[in-house]
Symmetry: C2
Subunit: 476 residues, 2 copies
């Protein structure tokens, strides 16, 4: 089976086998997979294999692949590395489409034995047509098939595909971006990329009808030319955001021992990404910020913004941050100032500047809503930003919760009316209380279609990258 067919089948899997699962009262990663696949809600049959036999979670463990009564689409292997080649042969006999090999101990070990083993895996994948994901990875997450290695991943499908050379970074990004309203079509943690590699996945997601944008975490590429060619081609039709680790020599060396990644000098890499029209980022959080921006921010006309928020010190620091990323906060024309004066009376300190510093209490009131609506439609402004220092107030957590509710309601109401693009910054979480408040509002806001950021520096960086991406594509 060719790689694209195998990927199609695997993201639509109807049955799975976990090989090397431990029986009840023992523990291994196979049991983690089993537990999570059940908990996430996979409906198809789950087969277990271990020569020792027994039972796990009430499911019989077969001694061998060939003993499984039904057909198997996808196999998760948790057996020791030297046993994997034989497993591929057994899977071929059984008609399996692809194996994810979780276990490490291949070329990333840096030994001749490990390299030989990985070469053998690659050869067998090509020969048998049983495609291999990994080794040294957690494989696929496919919400449409109700299949996931993590029970707490979002259940709904979205339009973002993610390929990641690290399992941990996969788990982090899906959770972090998930909390801000990003949903995935298909996710794959692909480790050492012995068989299915980054170019295969990029090309596959490029053609995938269920995918509108692509995110990637990459430690090294197998074939630079092919990767660049694929990148250019895919980036023409879909936004691609890439985080490449190994920016430094030290980082590259560690990448080699993590996923056997080949080093690309970071300068070369950066040029390549820019020329391909791809958005490069430097951290996983920047990757999440970028996905949120691409998903929830309409095209912007420029860098002139009006900012409204509760908190003077936060506004001062925030103005520095916007300015450093090339944004301007123009002074507001007299009619708008007058609207704010009417709305706020004598309460706030900085009502006549931009940012507008507002008290919490005005939210929802008529003159306040009017002033906001005017700002939302102001000529000479490209973007309206709300910022709230969640725990940068005297108010208690309980009262803070009520005021944030009122604020979110107001923001959503303004957003529903025609006007400029909007963004919300929920910053100053400070501590767990703050994260509880922010988490609740974030859900409400993204459900209403708004991009939510957790700091002004991160918002300004992401929106600046977005504008450069739009300009590059000629759509700004």
């Amino acid at each position: 089976m060719d790689k694209n067919q195998a990927l199609d089948a695997v993201f639509d899997l109807k049955s799975v086998a976990i090989v090397g699962v431990a029986k009840d009262e023992e523990f291994n990663t196979g049991r983690l997979f089993l537990n999570h696949i059940i908990e996430y809600g996979f409906k198809g049959p789950i087969y277990l294999v271990n020569p020792k036999g027994g039972e796990a979670f009430g499911i019989k463990i077969y001694p061998h692949m060939k003993d499984i009564p039904g057909s198997v689409d996808y196999v998760i292997s948790c057996i020791r590395a030297p046993l994997v080649p034989q497993l591929i042969k057994d899977c071929a006999a059984k008609g399996v489409k692809a194996i994810c090999s979780f276990t490490s101990g291949f070329s990333e070990f840096g030994t001749q034995e490990g390299r030989d083993l990985e070469r053998e895996v690659k050869r067998l994948a090509e020969q048998t047509g049983v495609r291999v994901i990994g080794p040294n990875c957690i494989g696929i997450h496919s919400p449409k098939a109700c299949f996931s290695p993590a029970p707490d991943f979002p259940k709904e499908s979205g339009r973002v595909a993610f390929l990641s050379q690290s399992g941990g970074n996969t788990l982090y990004l899906v959770r972090a971006a998930g909390a801000r309203g990003i949903r995935f079509s298909k996710v794959v943690s692909y480790g050492n990329a012995a068989d299915i590699d980054e170019s295969d996945l990029l090309s596959y997601f490029g053609q995938d009808q269920e995918t509108d944008m692509i995110a990637a975490y990459i430690e090294g590429v197998k074939d630079g030319r092919r990767f660049y060619r694929t990148l250019r081609e895919v980036a023409r039709s879909k936004p691609v955001v890439i985080l490449k680790s190994g920016r430094t020599q030290a980082g590259s060396a560690v990448a080699a021992s993590h996923s056997a990644a080949l080093a690309t000098p970071h300068r070369v890499w950066k040029d390549m990404v820019r020329q391909a029209g791809v958005i490069g980022v430097d951290t996983l959080d920047e990757l999440a910020d970028m996905l949120v921006t691409l998903r929830y921010m309409p095209p912007l006309g420029g860098k002139r913004l009006a900012m409204v928020g509760v908190g003077g010190g936060a506004g001062v620091l925030g103005t520095d941050d916007w300015d450093e990323n090339g944004f301007v906060l123009p002074s507001l024309p007299e009619p708008i100032r007058q609207a704010w004066r009417t709305a706020l009376g004598n309460v706030a300190g900085t009502i006549l500047t931009n940012p507008v510093d507002i008290p919490f209490l005005g939210f929802g009131q008529e003159p306040f809503m009017k002033a906001l609506a005017q700002l939302h439609n102001l000529e000479g402004i490209d973007l309206l930003v709300f910022h709230t220092p969640v725990r940068g107030h005297m108010i208690s957590v309980a009262v803070g919760g009520m005021l944030l509710d009122a604020e979110a309601e107001t923001i959503i109401k303004v957003h529903q009316a025609p006007g400029k693009p909007m963004a919300v910054v929920l910053h100053y979480e400070a501590n767990l209380d703050g994260w509880k408040l922010a988490d609740k509002q974030t859900s409400r806001l993204y459900e209403a279609g708004l991009p939510v950021y957790y700091s002004i520096p991160s918002a300004s960086k992401a929106i600046d990258r977005y504008l450069r991406y739009l300009a590059n594509r000629g759509t700004a």
Copy 2:
């Protein structure tokens, strides 16, 4: 009364009056102060003043300052700006030590009237000796007097003093640093600095027997020469960490309308800070990171570190981050590698490099503890770093909690034995679940005397600044 005497009296206050408090069934900021002062646990009498009379929280509201039966140390004013001069005179008659004027409407308004009013406040403070904090601020937090404007601030006193020109930034920093084990001796939000200004406060904290280090958020200084002289002098005996906003022209302009701050070109400011031996930072989180480092990190010999953590991708990205801040992760000598091989068997992928990638499951087991102890005492290493991607794992939240418990226990055990300085990075919180897990472990770890950071970039930046500070002082 001179300013230092007034500050001594106010941080040791026995009684307070809130002027302009609204009665029950109405709402204003005076009621917030009242509510929070009671909730934080202030033991002395709280007097309320409002010409309209009535009651609030069962406390009688007097029509006038002169009607208060007992003596009053500290007054919080929530009345309109034009009424403040008369209040100062009334306070003088009553023997009040200092007033905090919460209300804005002074020079930060940018009007002649506002400037005149502020000048009058300054003149009256000097003439009557009733010192003024603000206007446009939330005043003091003094745990030793059980007095705070925020009910959720830590109750215990510590050895850090904080002066802040923004109330919101005060509230954020005390909460954010508080969650990581920073406790304060004295905190003051000082707004426009009409009377008591940044130089007064810096000099006061410099001499304060209860203060070991000083943090500051400053938007502008009143008297550059005096401030620089004070800074140099104070920095000779205590670490001083300063966040200055208004790095950009746009930010400076907003600072002027927030707290009437005078602009200092940022380049001039940076030179001044460096020459005075002060630690400059660029964000509130960096300020918190720096306080955590100064409080919990012993002096370091250099930039060679060993990192141990659960998660390969996080290790790769983290290595880039350390490298970019000039740290080195030397390869580990053979006996240490052997100890890890014994401890981990064949499980982990990158056991032979630095960072050491470990499985969660080894924690607490004998050979694992041995390998850690060896690393903790390794020649050629200046610092041992643990990192944990909190939600960068397949494990469920419940199991994650148990494993993090075991990990924290192990880290604390290693830390209690003699060895190199240690730091812990709890990163990859991802979402609210992650913050819940991280918050619990952070408390355990700082209670055991460990510095905790929330990302490797922030840890490496803070520890790099710490090393430069030590070198500057000749103690590295």
